[in-house]
Amino acid sequence: MDLKIIPLTISVFILHACVQHQSPLESNQVHEISDTIKVEYAEGFEVNYTGNFIQIISHSIANNSAFADTLEFPTAKVVPDLVGENVLAGQIENIACQSSTHVAFLSTLKSIDLVAGLCGMEYVQNSEINTTLAENNVAEICAAEQVDMEVLQKINTDLFLIYPFETEGKAKYDAAGIRTFFIAEYLEQTALARLEWIKLFGLITGKSKEANVYFEKAESEYLSLIRATKQVDSKFILNLPYKESWFMPSANSMIVNLIEDAGLTYYYPSSGITENETRSTEAVWNDAMYADYWIIMASRPVDFSLADLLTEEPVYKEFLSVKKNQVIFCNTATSDYFVQGVVEPQIILKDILLATGQVSNHQPKYFSLLK
């Protein structure tokens, strides 16, 4: 071994030791809990109450690639020995989010002021939220979908809510002294399960009471809408192709379950896969001859019309849904479907019910019949 490397190595270690990665836990801080959380629908997280801690575990659902993450809040003064790496003491004052849907939950709980950094600020369509984010000087922590570590470290966040995409990603943040927690609400298979993650956000922000109230209200609206639903005996297909590939959401996906809650039946029965399925465009053309509804979520110009859609592909005019005037469209360029939509499943359901003629007296927010 080259001896010259030794002093160099030592100096690196010394420098390394000088950099303080994480403030030591102040173990006398206690997390405030306003209400008890009970998880009824969500499968991606659970909450355990032990003597001195509230433990939140987020984990993979069913056959998805396995992952798990734990966060613990002390509810009583704890002896320092018990303070593990998952423990987060005291109120969280500064959150960074990898997904703009996290902002929707926080905004609903009126905790948006906690957000210090956000990945993909441009995806937030809600102007009110945008204004608040701008006023609070929230940092854009991503460049080209990649988290910028320097920006992230600069905002000195208490907790960084991340996707469970890559486990080495978590290790990377750990090494940088950034506490992270996996949020995978998008893997939930029903709208209410996804919405229920608001309770987790309530725990984190100390607003579990507000979270419970919001959830219960939305839940009861959603359930009463289902009760009012007639079985319309109609089949539906989803979305639009990219050239020869048509990405069709899984029969177990949240959106398919939500539309089925409106009394419609998905054209493609469950194949046990939870990811989107790629079908060939010509196969979907063939199937579309028999599907009564065509429900599209896509980014299109304002005032996008049925006639505009038909110019995209001549065969569309032969679709049963087009002939029946039953194309339901959600313009993701103008509506806040991907963010605000997450916390308003009852409105989405009502949109679908209106478009399928099952309710009246409703102002559609996300989905409406394409004319």
């Binding site: 441009e122 995806y123 460049a143 080209a144 979908e145 990219y242 050239k243 020869e244 590939s245 790629t278 079908r279 060939s280 465009t281 010509e282 196969a283 053309w285 063939n286 579309a288 001859m289 896509a298 980014s299 299109r300 110009p301 995209e312 001549p314 065969v315 032969e318 360029a333």
Partner: protein, 326 residues
């Protein structure tokens, strides 16, 4: 040999009509082709789409292979191809500006804007190359400049990705994988018309290409006007590569592999024979690649298949011709 090649094209064409995710009986295909009607209305569109797709494959394959052989002879380099001059990259850049460059909404395939931008991009590279070629008379230097231009435009496209949203990025990435699918009849006619024109006028390149195998000095002594030839080469390869790239994405390997295969298979060195052979083999290879894409249920991107077929061909012919090509 040429007849065999044409039969291969006919066979692949028929298979392309017949095979697909939706099985349509042969009798119904004939009914549809003769203008009749069948029980499922979508089938006529599916057959039309398969037909269009096959025609696009034939013309694209032929155009890329022809560009390839012209460039290989002109630059005396068996690895030259339409991508090398940077023309494909230029077209990509034009397409990227529309698809990624904050037009605000996702741009559709077949939209006039993409087409115009792609051709503008390719033509800009063309003019730049013409400008450079005024000062640089060395074919290899021009080739290197083309390569550098390719790297530069790729880098600019990477920069454009920074401003693109997810939908735009996805659309562009899918376009970049290459596909013969999705052309509507008007676009198809425009594309095939331009390619046909280029193929016919490439007759003017037969003699220059025959002479250029000896090098530009010898070619000049054989009465070839090098200046005119240079412009013909740039114009033909530029227009053909651009139009294919705009409509089908930057398709790799066909342009490089086919001319080499032709050199190996056909004994006549007259480009009066070699050019048609290149067209036929290029068309057949493109059809074969597309057939594989379709048989895979469209899960394999076209560029993956052309690489899977093309790269071994290139390796094989390079080894085989290693001693035979100067």
């Amino acid at each position: 040999m040429l007849a065999l090649g044409l039969s291969a094209i006919a066979l692949l064409f028929a298979l392309n009509l017949l095979l697909g995710d939706v099985s349509i009986p042969v009798s119904d295909i004939f009914t549809l082709l003769s203008g009749g009607e069948v029980e499922n209305n979508s089938w006529s569109y599916i057959i039309e789409s398969r037909l269009n797709r096959s025609i696009v494959a034939i013309f694209s394959g032929a155009a890329l292979a022809l560009s390839g052989i012209i460039l290989q002879v002109y630059f005396r380099n068996p690895l030259a191809g339409p991508g090398v001059l940077g023309i494909t990259s230029g077209a990509s850049l034009g397409v990227a500006f529309i698809m990624l460059g904050g037009v605000g909404v996702v741009s559709f395939f077949g939209q006039i804007g993409v087409i115009v931008a792609g051709i503008l991009g390719a033509v800009s590279v063309l003019f730049l190359l013409l400008l450079v070629s005024k000062f640089i008379h060395n074919a290899v230097t021009l080739l290197v400049i083309g390569l550098m231009f390719g790297y530069f435009t790729s880098a600019v496209i990477d920069v454009l990705f920074l401003w693109a949203d997810l939908d735009e990025t996805r659309a562009f990435v899918i376009w970049g994988m290459g596909s013969f699918e999705g052309l509507q009849t008007a676009d198809l006619l425009l594309m095939c018309g331009i390619i046909l024109l280029a193929i016919v006028s490439s007759a003017f390149l037969i003699k220059p290409m025959n002479a250029l195998v000896l090098g530009s000095e010898y070619a000049s002594s054989l009465g070839i006007n090098l200046k005119v030839t240079k412009y013909l080469v740039i114009l033909h390869t530029g227009v053909m590569a651009a139009i294919v790239t705009v409509y089908c994405g930057p398709i790799s390997f066909i342009g490089v592999a086919v001319p080499q295969l032709v050199r190996l298979i056909w004994s006549s060195k007259n480009h009066f024979i070699q050019i048609p052979a290149t067209l036929i083999l290029g068309a057949a290879l493109a059809l074969l690649a597309d057939l594989i894409v379709r048989v895979s249920g469209n899960t394999l991107p076209l560029n993956t298949v052309t690489a899977l077929i093309g790269a071994p061909i290139i390796i094989y012919t390079i080894i085989k011709l290693n001693k035979k090509i100067a």
